[in-house]
């Protein structure tokens, strides 16, 4: 039981971080467009986020430094500032998209008008952040978000052609529409390796007071958490491939995602899917909201952390409060959350290298990391992924423009 609670950070990282609105949108859209043939990209993304989250958790546990401490130290003030601005823009876009997602799910559950539900989403998020301790935020959103496992059941119940599913794990390129396929590859990698996941994870490790003794827990958290996130992503894509592709449905709405559980499992499936999405997207909203405040505080040296309490970390508190209000205002304008999500994911892909390079450098610094510095395995993976995300970052925006956001 204790072990189950201990991996809470990993579970929230998986549910609220990995499987957020970006993954819901991109995995389902990818399945509806290309069936199972992009499953292998999810594997690449999951391994990448495990590699870098493990590094971030280790750096935080050993040197007590979170991601933007490392960014500021290694990139300096000027380049670090560019990284900060990019990170904050992407994090803000993502938060707004998540708040939109919450309002849509509440609308599906209640039939009330969307605009009335944005303030409700705001109050719900504010209350959770203000009144719950960090650990309980993780537990509530992480474990309630586990309702998403309904998609695994749905995927099995839909009886897809398992041979084709297995074939989807073999790296390939769709020759019919290679550019759109590449756009989805970039989107899936961007969604899987979204930078805010590591901002939140590394700062969360400091919130929880990790020391080198917790390195085993760190490894467990990343492997179980993101492994679970990967499993859910597979399930979403398989469901969409089995259900939407044959009927030619291109999901443009969050509600269509939940349909994937309703068709094979009925009302119970739909309800579980909606509750799962609500908590996953809610958890992600809190992650992004905090990430924004963590990044600012770490770059400028302010006091930060939920564990400090609002009065001891005033600028940190003000930062997340103001951001949450702004995100709700943006969503209240009626902007389409799905479109916002696509922009957030694609711009995330561009911001990736500036986030991951400083982490790799710090994780190799023996002066701080001592015997816990990167071993050869972590470095081989770290460098390979740095090359991968560099390509992803360069290709993201051109592909978005050429393919008209995957519309072909």
């Amino acid at each position: 039981m204790k072990a189950i609670f201990q991996v809470a950070l990993g579970i929230l990282a998986a549910i609220g971080g990995f499987v957020d609105i970006g993954d819901l949108v991109f995995n389902v859209a990818a399945g509806a467009e290309f069936g199972f043939s992009l499953l292998w990209v999810v594997v690449v993304g999951v391994v990448g986020i495990i590699v870098y989250s493990e590094m971030c958790g280790r750096v935080a546990a050993v040197s007590k430094r979170a991601v933007f401490d490392a960014v500021r130290e290694r990139l300096g003030f000027g380049v670090g500032l560019v990284a900060l601005v990019a990170a904050q823009l992407v994090t803000f876009l993502t938060l707004a998209a998540e708040v939109g997602g919450i309002a849509i799910v509440l609308q599906l559950l209640s039939n009330l008008p969307f605009l009335a539900l944005v303030p409700l989403a705001f109050i719900g998020l504010l209350a959770a952040i203000w009144f719950l301790e960090f650990e309980w935020i993780e537990r509530l959103f992480g474990y309630a978000g586990l309702c998403l496992i309904v998609f695994v059941v749905a995927a099995i119940k839909l009886e897809p052609d398992w041979g084709s599913v297995a074939h989807g794990f073999v790296p390939q390129i769709d020759t019919g529409d290679p550019l759109v396929y590449l756009y989805f590859m970039v989107g899936l990698l961007g969604a899987a390796m979204t930078p805010y996941e590591v901002y939140f994870y590394s700062s969360g490790a400091i919130e929880e007071g990790w020391t080198p003794k917790d390195l085993g827990l760190n490894r467990l958290n990343t492997v179980i958490g993101y492994g679970l996130g990967g499993l859910l992503s597979f399930a979403l894509m398989i469901t969409a491939g089995a259900l939407f592709l044959p009927q030619g449905i291109q999901p443009q709405l969050i509600g269509t995602v939940a349909l994937g559980a309703e068709v094979p499992l009925g009302q119970v499936g739909l309800l579980l899917a909606l509750v799962g999405i609500l908590f996953a997207v809610g958890g992600a909203a809190i992650d992004t909201c905090f990430s924004f405040a963590y990044n600012l505080a770490q770059f400028f040296g302010w006091e930060w952390g939920k564990y400090r309490g609002p009065a001891r970390a005033p600028r940190f508190t003000l930062a997340w409060l103001v951001l949450l209000v702004l995100a709700c205002c943006v969503i209240a304008t009626g902007i389409d959350p799905v479109m916002l999500t696509e922009y957030a994911v694609i711009f995330s892909a561009v911001a990736l290298p500036l986030t991951y390079l400083p982490i790799l450098l710090v994780a190799n610094d023996r002066a701080y990391m001592r015997e816990y510095a990167n071993g050869r395995l972590a470095n081989v993976f770290g460098v390979v992924y740095l090359v991968v995300i560099l390509f992803v970052a360069l290709a993201a925006i051109p592909l978005m423009l050429i393919t008209n956001m995957g519309q072909g």
Binding site: A297, F300, G301
Partner: protein, 119 residues
């Protein structure tokens, strides 16, 4: 004071977190004051740690640096190197932030946050 004889200033001190004896985070090392009159062949010595928006234009040249400094309030504090206790992954100070004039940004916003319900 356990101070290493030579330190890689660019990597080991500049842009690091400042932490006071109570564990309070109170700024970053935005710049360094160096003693320039040293014998040839001798390493330069740090005399002070410079903290605050006033020193940002030295890090980002041109109008952007100046604009940032103005947005940040333009304050700057010079902390003597004698007030530095240790350099680990953070720069640990020997005296509380309030005595050194650090952490004033957070102090300024504290009354506002304290006025919120249940804070």
């Amino acid at each position: 004071m356990s101070r290493p004889k030579a330190l890689d200033l660019a990597l080991g001190v500049l842009d690091h977190q400042l932490v006071d004896p109570d564990g309070r985070r109170c700024g970053k090392v935005d710049d360094l004051d160096l003693e320039l009159e040293v014998e040839i062949g001798e390493p330069a010595r740090v005399t002070a740690v410079l903290v605050g928006p006033r020193y940002w234009p030295g890090r980002v040249r041109g109008p952007i640096g100046r604009l940032l400094a103005r947005l940040g309030g333009g304050d700057g504090v010079k902390v003597s190197w004698d007030d530095v206790e240790r350099v680990t992954s953070a720069v640990e100070l020997a005296r509380p932030a309030s005595e050194l004039g650090l952490g004033r940004g957070d102090d300024r916003f504290r009354p506002l946050i304290e006025r919120l319900p249940w804070a």
